[in-house]
């Protein structure tokens, strides 16, 4: 720890979002981070099969659909990451014996798909009005050949990078919720990346607040 970072020097990819993109679902959001676009729909609390009901909390189901439509093992991995993150964020104990389904559709992938999907999921959950402990923000970064840390890498930077790290932070104390990485990196690089991403997550939280304030005043 102990890496000093200045928030002002960061720039994330430009984010654009639209709520209620789907009219029939309980909550939906479409988010673009740079060129990467995902669409998330949240439905719930719903009636579900007796076998999958839990008497103490809602059952969360996450479905990830790729652009091609063919399910693969990599998608299951993404689903489990998103599911674990959502489970900590949603106050499921308020909706016992019910189900919540989150469906994520990849629309464009130009790097940083998973962090875009996570942020979009958070926005869709906010739109659906489900009770949550906190909001979460995902930030990705890459460690390049020289050991430098690049926030929100582009597709080319990501493929040439030595390692890719993704972090998800919660809004209360900016604690790490989820972290996953691929490739090889040093411990110091990991810690620097963590701190830089933590600082950059502020930008995502500010973005959430801006979006909510845009429509809150007219409803």
């Amino acid at each position: 720890m102990g890496v000093e970072v200045d928030t002002k020097e960061f720039k994330l990819k430009p984010m654009k979002c639209e709520f209620n993109f789907l009219s029939k679902s309980d909550g939906s959001a479409i988010l673009s981070q740079g060129e990467t676009v995902t669409l998330v729909s949240v439905n719930g609390p719903l009636d579900i099969k007796m076998q999958s009901q839990s008497i103490e909390k809602s059952t969360l189901e996450v479905l990830f659909c790729t652009k091609g439509g063919k399910p693969s093992v990599a998608d299951r991995y993404k689903e489990s990451i998103i599911k674990q993150t959502c489970e900590t964020a949603i106050l499921g104990s308020l909706y016992p014996r019910s189900g919540i389904t989150v469906t994520i559709q990849e629309l464009e992938d130009y790097g940083g798909l998973l962090s875009c999907a996570l942020n979009c999921t958070c926005l869709a959950l906010l739109n659906s009005g489900l009770a949550m402990r906190f909001v979460f923000a995902a930030v990705s970064c890459a460690v390049d050949e020289l050991g430098n840390i690049v926030l929100e890498p582009t597709q080319e930077q990501a493929t040439s990078a030595r390692a890719l790290l993704n972090f998800v932070f919660e809004s209360r104390n900016k604690n790490l919720l989820t972290g996953f990485s691929e490739g090889s990196y040093s411990e110091s690089a990991y810690e620097e990346a963590l701190e830089r991403c933590r600082a950059a997550s502020d930008l995502v939280f500010t973005f959430y607040r801006d979006i909510i304030s845009k429509y809150s005043n007219v409803i």
Binding site: D26, P45, D47, P96, S128, A131, E170, S171, Y215, S216
Partner: protein, 236 residues
């Protein structure tokens, strides 16, 4: 992040004002707020509101209905089971409506309710652990305005829109009722039942209500006059 009344809040924000007031007097925390060991935390995204004395809640956007005691709702009868009707009110499970909770109903004199009928009823029991229960009578055994809604047209909308049009300060119904006659029942579960003399009027009414969702009071007034002139045939 700290939040105060009137702010835009996100889940995870906390309000020190509520905890401070809570030490001296009784505080009621409504939807979107939850007390934890150290603070009162926000659980929904919206605007933190306060009404005297010491009632706080978060006004948020929502489409899915979560049953709450005492609310008037519009539901569709989906099943007759023994001595209860099962009514779909849009929540995760159907609500139960007893045969006997109609005005003048007895074991022998059963109310005339068929599957598919639309009922306007009040939530008597609403808890997260139990099936919600509806009644069509008030505490004096009178039906008031509750009961089966015959004819008319039912449509769904967001829960905010219901709260908006039922707000006494909202000019929508005030302006519309001067233009042409109609009947309307708004359920807190995001369903509205309307009935007007002609199909044209019903459609115009429905569009006026749905169109008012993101409009300000002034815009609502001008929209109502617009719709009325189109309906009267002055503009085609």
């Amino acid at each position: 992040m700290k939040a105060s009344v009137g702010d835009v809040v996100l889940p995870g924000d906390y309000c020190e004002e509520i905890s401070a007031v809570g030490e001296k007097a009784k505080v009621i925390i409504g939807p979107g707020l939850q007390k934890e060991i150290d603070h009162v935390y926000v659980t929904k995204a919206g605007i933190l509101k306060k009404r005297n004395p010491n009632t706080y809640w978060v006004d948020n956007y929502q489409k899915r209905y979560i049953p709450a005691r005492g609310e008037n709702v519009i539901g569709v009868v989906v099943q007759k089971a023994g001595d209860i009707f099962r009514v779909d009110v849009g929540s995760s499970i159907t609500a139960a409506l007893s045969y006997l909770s109609f005005e003048g109903a007895t074991k022998k004199n059963k109310p005339d309710v068929q599957i598919g009928d639309v009922v306007y009823a009040k939530m008597l029991v609403a808890s997260k652990d139990m099936e919600p229960e509806l009644v069509c009578v008030d505490s004096h055994g009178k039906k008031g305005r509750m009961g089966v809604l015959s004819d008319g047209f039912v449509f769904k909308c967001s829960l905010n829109l219901i709260r908006k049009i039922l707000n006494p300060n909202c000019p929508l119904l005030e302006s519309l009722k001067n233009e042409w006659p109609f009947e309307l029942a708004a359920g807190m579960n995001g369903r509205i039942w309307i009935k007007a003399n002609t199909m044209r009027e019903t459609i115009a009414l429905g569009n006026a209500i749905l169109g008012a969702e993101y409009l300000s009071d002034e815009e609502i007034k001008s929209m109502c006059t617009n719709i009325a002139t189109i309906l009267a045939g002055h503009v085609s």
